[in-house]
C-alpha cells in the first residue's frame, strides 16, 4: 500500500544574485515538491537604457554601446549594427574590411558557443573541468581579438564600411595555429561530454519545444535548429559575403536540452570551415572606404533600415531611424536573448528543480542583451 504525501506549493525567488542565472536574472518559481508548477521571469536588473543612449551619440560612437549588449558576442553585435548603418546610409563596404569582419564574427561565434556549452555543463553539476576546457579555448580566441583591435571583450572593431585596423602580419599564423588546435579540442569535448551517459540521461527529453511552438514565439538560432528547422540567416538571407562560402547547418530533431547542446558543438566546426575559406578568399586592399566617401560623422539620409544577422543566439536585428542628423533618431535592438525567453515558462513547468538551470542554460542568454 502506498501513501500519498501532499505537499504545499512553495514559491522561491531565484536571483537576481544567483551563481547559475548567467548574470542578474530573476525568476519567481513555484514548486510542488521538486516539480516546477509556475515560473515568472523578472527582467531589468541590467537595464542601462542603451537604446536611449544611442540617440545622443554619433553613428560611430554607438558601436561601443553594442559591444556591451551581448558581451560574449561583441563582434557579432558590431556586425549587425554596421549592416544596419550601411543599409541606412547607403555605404558600399570595402571587400577586405568585410572579409575581416566575417573572420572576426565567426571567431566570436566559436567563443560564444564555447561559453554556452561550458556553462551548460557546469549547470549540470560538472563543476570546473569542462568549463575550464572551454574557457581555455575561448582565451586563445580573445588573444586573437587583442591582436586585431587591442581589446578582448568590448572590441568596437567595426566601422561603417569595414574595420578600423588591418590585421597585423603575425595575426594570420597565430589564427592558423588556433584553428589547427581547435578541432581536436572540440573532439575532446565530444569524447568527454557528448558520449557521456550522465549528460545524455540528464538532458535527453528534458524541456522539449516543438518547431511550431518556437516559430510562433519568434525563437530563432540554435534553439530552432535543434528542433529540425533549417533556418539560418547566413544561408537563407546571406549578408556580407556568406553567399561565397560553403558551410553546413547542423540540425537535430529532438528539440530538447541535449539537441541544443549538440547543435552548438557542431556549429563550432562549421565556423572553423568558414574562417578557413575566408582566409583563402581575402585579398589585399583598403579595409574601409575613403574618408571623403564615408566620414566618421556620418549623416545618413532621412529614413529607416532594419538589418538582421545570425547571431550565436539567434536573429539579432537593428532597426535604425535617421532624421538626417549625426546621431540615430531611434535605435531599436531585436535581442535574441530576450525573445528566446518567451517560452521559458513552457520549458520549465512540469520539470524538476535539478533540471531548471540546465534548461535555462540551454537557451543561452546573456543578460547584457536581455536588459540592454
Amino acid at each position: 500500500m502506498t501513501t500519498q504525501v501532499r505537499t504545499e506549493p512553495i514559491t522561491v525567488n531565484l536571483g537576481p544574485q544567483h551563481p547559475s542565472t548567467h548574470g542578474v536574472f530573476r525568476m519567481r518559481v513555484t514548486f510542488d515538491g521538486e516539480e516546477i508548477i509556475d515560473v515568472e521571469p523578472i527582467f531589468g536588473y541590467l537595464h542601462r537604457g542603451s537604446e536611449k543612449l544611442a540617440e545622443e551619440r554619433t553613428y560611430v560612437q554607438v558601436v561601443t554601446l553594442t559591444d556591451r549588449m551581448d558581451y560574449v558576442g561583441s563582434m557579432l553585435n558590431n556586425q549587425a549594427y554596421m549592416l544596419a548603418v550601411e543599409k541606412l546610409a547607403g555605404v558600399e563596404p570595402a571587400p577586405r574590411g568585410v572579409w575581416l569582419r566575417m573572420i572576426a564574427s565567426e571567431l566570436q561565434r566559436i567563443a560564444s558557443h564555447l561559453v554556452a556549452v561550458g556553462f551548460l555543463i557546469q549547470d549540470l553539476g560538472a563543476w570546473g573541468t569542462p568549463l575550464i576546457y572551454t574557457m581555455r579555448e575561448r582565451e586563445k580566441i580573445l588573444d586573437l581579438f587583442e591582436m586585431l583591435c587591442g581589446a578582448r571583450i568590448t572590441n568596437s572593431y567595426l566601422r561603417p564600411g569595414g574595420v578600423f585596423m588591418d590585421a597585423p602580419e603575425e595575426f594570420w599564423p597565430a589564427m592558423n595555429e588556433v584553428l589547427d588546435e581547435l578541432p581536436p579540442r572540440i573532439d575532446d569535448l565530444d569524447d568527454l561530454l557528448t558520449d557521456n551517459d550522465i549528460i545524455f540521461s540528464r538532458t535527453k527529453g528534458v524541456s522539449i519545444l516543438t518547431p511550431e511552438q518556437m516559430i510562433d514565439a519568434s525563437i530563432t538560432g540554435p534553439m530552432l535548429r535543434a528542433a529540425g528547422v533549417d533556418w539560418d540567416l547566413r544561408h537563407r538571407d546571406p549578408y556580407d559575403y556568406y553567399d561565397q562560402v560553403k558551410f553546413d547547418r547542423p540540425l537535430h530533431t529532438a528539440g530538447d536540452n541535449f539537441a541544443r547542446y549538440w547543435v552548438r558543438v557542431q556549429e563550432m566546426r562549421e565556423s572553423i570551415k568558414i574562417i578557413r575559406q575566408c582566409e583563402q578568399l581575402i585579398e589585399p586592399g583598403p579595409i574601409r572606404p575613403e574618408h571623403d566617401d564615408v566620414p566618421w560623422l556620418l549623416r545618413p539620409p532621412v529614413g529607416d533600415a532594419y538589418a538582421a544577422i545570425e547571431h550565436s543566439k539567434g536573429e539579432l536585428g537593428f532597426y535604425l531611424v535617421s532624421d538626417g542628423s549625426i546621431s540615430p533618431y531611434r535605435c531599436h535592438v531585436r535581442a535574441p536573448s530576450l525573445i528566446n525567453l518567451t517560452l521559458l515558462r513552457d520549458m520549465l513547468v512540469g520539470e524538476l528543480l535539478a533540471d531548471m538551470f540546465v534548461s535555462f542554460g540551454s537557451v543561452d542568454i546573456n543578460m547584457g542583451e536581455v536588459d540592454r
Binding site: K52, I219, D304, T342
Partner: protein, 174 residues
C-alpha cells in the same frame, strides 16, 4: 536571398482580401489602420500567399506628432520579409493598438518592452506590465519629451531658492 515584399504589391494583395485598410504604401513599407491590425496580421499569417509564421520584431518610434508601431515579419516557408507600420497616438493622445500576442506569442515580451519604454498601450495583452523598469517609474524613457538629466538641471538665471532655505542661509551668514 530572402525576398522583401514590395510595399505597393503587398498593399494590393491585402486589399483583395480586406479592402480599404492600407492607408499608405512606400518602398518596402505599408501603413495600416491601428484598428485593423488584428485582421490584417491574421491574414498575413494564415493566407497561403503570405505565410508570415514568424514575427521578427515589434517596436515603436516617437515622431512627436504621432507614434509609429513597426512590425517586421518573416516567412520561413517563402523566405520573404515584410514591414508593416501603423500610426497611433496623434497629438500625443493616449497611444493604443491591439496586441498581436494571440497571433504570435513572440510579441509577448516585445510588446511589454514597447509599453515600458515607449508607453504604447497594447489592448488585450495578457500580461500588460512593465518589463525593464519598475512599476511606478515616472514616464516612458524612449519618448522624445522625456526630460534628460542635463535638462532637469535648472539654469543659474532661473534658480529660485525656496524661501525657508534662503532665510536659514542668510541667518547663518549674518
Amino acid at each position: 536571398m530572402s525576398k522583401a515584399w514590395d510595399g505597393a504589391k503587398l498593399a494590393e494583395a491585402i486589399h483583395k482580401s480586406i479592402p480599404d485598410v492600407v492607408v499608405d504604401a512606400n518602398g518596402t513599407d505599408i501603413w495600416i489602420e491601428p484598428d485593423s491590425v488584428l485582421e490584417v496580421m491574421r491574414l498575413l499569417r494564415d493566407d497561403a500567399e503570405f505565410q508570415f509564421q514568424l514575427l521578427s520584431s515589434v517596436t515603436a518610434v516617437d515622431y512627436i506628432s504621432y507614434f509609429e508601431i513597426v512590425y517586421h515579419l518573416t516567412s520561413l516557408t517563402r523566405n520573404a520579409t515584410a514591414v508593416i507600420k501603423s500610426k497611433t497616438g496623434f497629438g500625443r493622445d493616449e497611444a493604443r493598438i491591439p496586441s498581436v500576442v494571440d497571433i504570435w506569442r513572440g510579441a509577448d515580451l516585445q510588446e511589454r518592452e514597447v509599453w515600458d519604454l515607449m508607453g504604447i498601450i497594447f489592448e488585450g495583452h495578457p500580461n500588460h506590465k512593465r518589463i525593464m523598469l519598475w512599476e511606478g517609474f515616472p514616464g516612458h524613457p524612449l519618448r522624445k519629451d522625456l526630460a534628460t538629466y542635463e535638462q532637469s538641471i535648472v539654469p543659474e538665471a532661473e534658480r529660485r531658492v525656496p524661501s525657508g532655505v534662503a532665510n536659514e542661509v542668510e541667518e547663518g551668514q549674518g
